[in-house]
Symmetry: C2
Subunit: 317 residues, 2 copies
């Protein structure tokens, strides 16, 4: 069953821009990403964690408490219509360690958008709040800061502004590792982060899921270890279908394909590979928590429910 | 309560030498390690997995089925008095995926010796068989192949041949991160492997443990992610004390110390750091599954039970 759907956005909405993980790689890129949001009529407010250059550890944006506070404020304050993550990196799990979800549970669902390390946050949003969220581009990353004409940005904005029009994702260059059709709840994200959540209370079980996986910068043996943990931890038991995105900087592409075929080819469910979601590609936004149908022959993921609710009516006049 | 103790060894014992993970880095080193075993009167038998050069994937010794078969034979055939792992690397978890523990459970306990990736196997030996095992040097690794005068080798052989004499480990260069005395069951190993076991049926809970941790070649943010998973997965809840070994190739030593202090300093239990167990040091053998007392002021781990049973009497004559 589709999780609670946040509304889409409309021009004039104020949105939060923050970091739950590492500092942005440059303030210039962040500013360019912010201008992209402004170019479509949104009013981005940049939180302190997106300005921090690594004051506690160089790989963390602000302190754990600062990231948890920014995230809590962005999720609970109704003035923010959505929460855009500025970048990934590392640290979302430290942020989660300090989150008080009971404080947030009463808030109305809003869109939370990010990927990579933010996978841990999207899982928590599903596990703790029961909201649909978006595995999509981030403000200080290339598909965003390079400008409003970027594919990643346009696909995301189309979904946010006109959710009723996005009924399907198509994957032109994809290939069936295992052919078939399957229906389930869209889940998943960056595989290393899913595994690093095992045993925690924000991990979201993948039973009955259409499971999306991608990763970056994991040597082949590390990727193998991650996939093997997914298997051995029974995480893949009952998965209905698998969608495999980009696995760049993970060794020779041919070796990765061999590994993917070997670790996911025997599950007895449809597996589609070569999908343009993830690191280092012009990426589509993948919603987390929506009932959908995977068809490997067509190379499509069809949503059985609208991904986001229609944007709230402007009641200000 | 101390787990089931395998007996120590005596000259003339036949022992198995095999890989559960990656291929050995060189057959010459393996041979030198084998000669070290022979030099103290053991009869090492080298299994096929220790001869494989990476026939399935370059990072795996043989196929998963071959590694599981070698390990099963070594554990169950009474002619082998102990199981020496030749090296670590990656792949023990794939081996575990194919193990049929019910076949092995009836066997008498025997010493299983290795570290690094083999942590996953030692955990399984505790979880599935309830045996004490040894986090110690491996046959094709430096503390072994450099010859029988190496500290690592001598410490291991002393424990195996005269278990009654090894009542305590002392850690001369160690420092108390949190001072105190604690008693518990010795558990742990290479931290990344413990985390990679979460969610699987061979993970062994650390409640009431004296928990040893070390790691190698994990960038600071990766080490942070591992430690944060240990925390968030409630793995550290109820731990009685922590022993921290080597963390080499993990970034600046000062940064690592800061991280260790921050991630383990607030648990409310004694923490001893700078212990000579793990990668890239002249290492002592750390038994898994023995009741022991940690004293950070003395820099000692005192065993409350004998680590191994006395070597079996030679009944052949």
């Amino acid at each position: 069953m589709t999780l609670l759907r946040p509304p889409g956005l409309k021009p004039g909405d104020t949105v939060a821009v923050l970091c739950a993980s590492s500092p942005v790689s440059s303030q210039e890129k962040l500013e360019a990403g912010v201008r992209a949001l402004e170019s479509v009529g949104l009013k981005p407010e940049v939180f302190g964690t997106a300005r921090d250059a690594g004051s506690q550890y160089e790989y963390l944006a602000g302190t754990d408490a600062e990231r948890a506070a920014d995230l809590t404020r962005a999720l609970t304050d109704p003035q923010y219509a959505a929460v855009f993550l500025a970048c990934g990196g590392y640290g979302a799990q430290r942020t989660l360690e300090l989150m008080d979800w009971d404080r947030i549970d009463a808030a109305a669902p809003k869109a939370v958008i990010g990927y990579s390390d933010v996978t841990a946050l999207l899982e928590a949003v599903a596990a703790k709040l029961g909201w649909v969220s978006l595995f999509g581009p981030m403000v200080a990353c290339s598909g965003f800061w390079q400008g409003p004409e970027e594919y990643d940005f346009k696909e995301l904005i189309k979904l946010l502004y006109r959710p009723a029009t996005v009924t399907e994702l198509t994957f032109p260059g994809s290939r069936a590792l295992v052919p078939g059709v399957a229906e389930g709840l869209t889940l998943g994200g960056t595989a290393s982060l899913l595994a690093a959540g095992f045993g925690t209370d924000t991990s979201y079980p993948a039973r009955d899921a259409i499971l999306f996986l991608e990763d970056v910068d994991e040597l082949p043996y590390r990727l193998d270890r991650i996939f093997t943990q997914l298997r051995r931890a029974s995480y893949l038991d009952g998965v209905r279908g698998v969608i495999l995105g980009t696995f760049t900087e993970c060794g020779e592409p041919g070796d990765v394909e061999t590994l993917l075929a070997e670790r996911f080819g025997d599950l007895g469910v449809p597996v589609l590979t070569g999908v343009n979601i993830g690191h280092n590609c012009a990426m589509q936004t993948y919603p987390i928590g929506v009932q959908a149908r995977l068809d490997t022959a067509a190379g499509t993921l069809t949503f059985l429910d609208q991904v986001l609710a229609d944007p709230a009516q402007d009641t200000s006049g």
